[in-house]
Subunit: 210 residues, 4 copies
DNA sequence: CATGAATGAGCTTTCATTCAT
DNA sequence: CATGAATGAAAGCTCATTCAT
């Protein structure tokens, strides 16, 4: 099963050429977004940048936002990999592992800072797309596992709430940190984040929380 | 201090008629945004809805986003009032006061949920506007005062970091909560938020933190 | 009350300039239709021919077909005038008057033969538009009056049917005659038409019918 | 004589498979026309509906209108059959036979009303196609025979004119009747038509004319 | 101040058609 | 024969903005 692209892609590429085309268009989309911003990223511009006809663009993508979603998805895949690189989710309960994971997520964000800025600031309705929700979901599962391993006393709705909060934290704070560049060291922020999550898990928390 | 309109308004309204015009246009802008979304909110449409000519609209606002910023600003004023209603910032150190304040902020967000959604999701580059930054700044000052009153051991950069984090929390989490409507009670979220801030202030946190 | 254009016109021209614009665009529309046919009559082409911006065209007409309808309407007005030029409808019962009227309608059709061909053959969904139906209606009223004057024995549904048939005849046959140019003299066709109508009115028919 | 396809078909189907392909495409064309109208009937859509590649479509048909002409032709064949079902053309002079024939033509039109509407209203330049002219020609021959049998006194140009008129009547009126659904019974219209034709043949007409 | 006609660049999208495989 | 990816010209239409009145 080929990597299934989220909605917006018309053909699941059946041939190598097709996959290459999709790749070229997404590449071009990235470049055009970076250069001209979301509003300036016209389909003709993207097609031209990809060295492809407008018709071809529409052969592979349902519409303009389909392409942008393609760009976003590829970016989210990188983020997802940063999540997966630590051996297994259970190890999240270990503060060091959490810090390392969060740090590599920050790396990904930082490396794509300008793109992130454009996607978040100029095309945010897309940022809520399926892939993004999938990552959020995955992150929440990590959280739940970690919380339980940490021996959290929370249960049921309270545990849900804590996981939801922790997930929002882990998604919002790093993005905001990268985008607004406050005069604070990344280390400090990450430690604060770990503390926060520990606190959410319950005072007795060791591991991430302490 | 006269109601200072933020960037986007061409003249400070010196005459009643002007103020009335600005008000009508912003009203119309709100309605059009709610009805047609950001993309569908053309200046012509807004002008028509306001019963005003496009030319007049451009007399009072520098450009389309000027109007949208006007709508946003008026909304932020409401939020700011929710912040101010508790007598003084120092009282924030009191958990009950914090909860009450945060609750009334949530009320404001909830009452304008659809508008919030449109502004955040479809016109986000504006959300970084001056007024938004002003609120963020104000919130951070509240935080610093509260932290000190709570006897936080943090100082200097560490204090800055904690305040920044806490501010991001207080801004992101409620908005996300209102917009994504997770199956969690508002009370639980607010309590979690208070706990978080307490944790940020330092282990010994009492007041908000407990 | 200004000449109310049928659906498709956006503004009932309130100023002389506006009326002039509408006229220029319809003129240009006619010319472009004649030159390029319906399919080739792009809005940009029409606007350019009118020496006007595309935006202006859309300021006065709701869409492309609005312009074509404008062209059609102006043509139908000519046809309608041919109908009205005979003093009054009652005189239709006189065969000579009928022949003269039908002849002048044929003149109008012949003078605009190419335009007629394009409208009928390439944009017929428009030809069914309101103005066309209005003419049909008017023609049917003429018919009814003439039939009664001719002392037709028909009544009720039968009279309706005869009028409908006669109207279809008077509309289809001349148009078909002009467009397909059969090797038959116009006089012969008109006489046949008159005979037909006489026959429809009933055997006893004098006047138009004999 | 093999079923001769009119212009639009590239090869006369020599093999079953070819004939099947042509049939499938025309079927699909009908369905797509009915569903999306002429403007919405793109070749890609028709090919997809037929389960065939666009390339194949162009192998069997010269262009888009070739397919539509195919649809039209198949429809005209049905009409032609309605004409032929009465044993021989000479019998047309018999009013009952004429009425029966016209009635079955009306049936065919009614059964395909929506398709007729689309073909006549949206793709009319095609209605002048060869097959249509062929039917018209055939009908005129029927008329001439019938007129002579009816003992018409007309000769030469006058006879031609009467036949032409009668043919236009028989083609326009039923189509208009079906499409505009006037509140008149079909029987009344058919009788009127027969009367008309009788009148055209000359007062002495018996048979159809009485 | 207020108007509203006029602009025109530029956008997204379609679709008949072709041709290498 | 059949495919389907690729094309690219062009179409209809919008809309922020201006300026003569």
């Amino acid at each position: 099963m080929p990597t299934s692209k989220s909605a917006g892609t018309r053909k699941s590429p059946q041939q190598d050429r097709s996959e290459a085309m999709v790749g070229r268009i997404i590449d071009a989309g990235s470049r055009v977004l970076l250069t001209y911003g979301y509003a300036g990223a016209s389909t003709n511009r993207i097609a031209a940048e990809a060295g492809v006809s407008p018709g071809s663009l529409y052969y592979y993508f349902s519409d303009k936002d389909g392409v942008v979603r393609g760009v976003l998805d590829r970016f989210l895949v990188l983020l997802g990999q940063a999540l997966s690189n630590t051996t297994a989710r259970l190890e999240w309960a270990d503060r060091a592992v959490f810090l390392e994971t969060a740090d590599s997520m920050m790396d990904v964000l930082e490396e794509n800072r300008r793109l992130l800025e454009i996607l978040v600031d100029e095309a945010p309705q897309l940022v809520r797309s399926g892939s993004r929700l999938a990552i959020e979901e995955r992150l929440r599962e990590h959280m739940r596992t970690a919380f339980l391993l940490l021996g959290t006393p929370l249960r049921g709705a309270e545990l849900d709430a804590a996981c939801w909060l922790a997930t929002q934290l882990c998604l919002s704070v790093p993005v905001r940190y990268i985008l607004s560049r406050p005069p604070i060291s990344r280390e400090t922020v990450l430690n604060g984040l770990a503390d926060q999550i520990g606190a959410l898990a319950g005072h007795g928390g060791q591991g991430t929380g302490r």
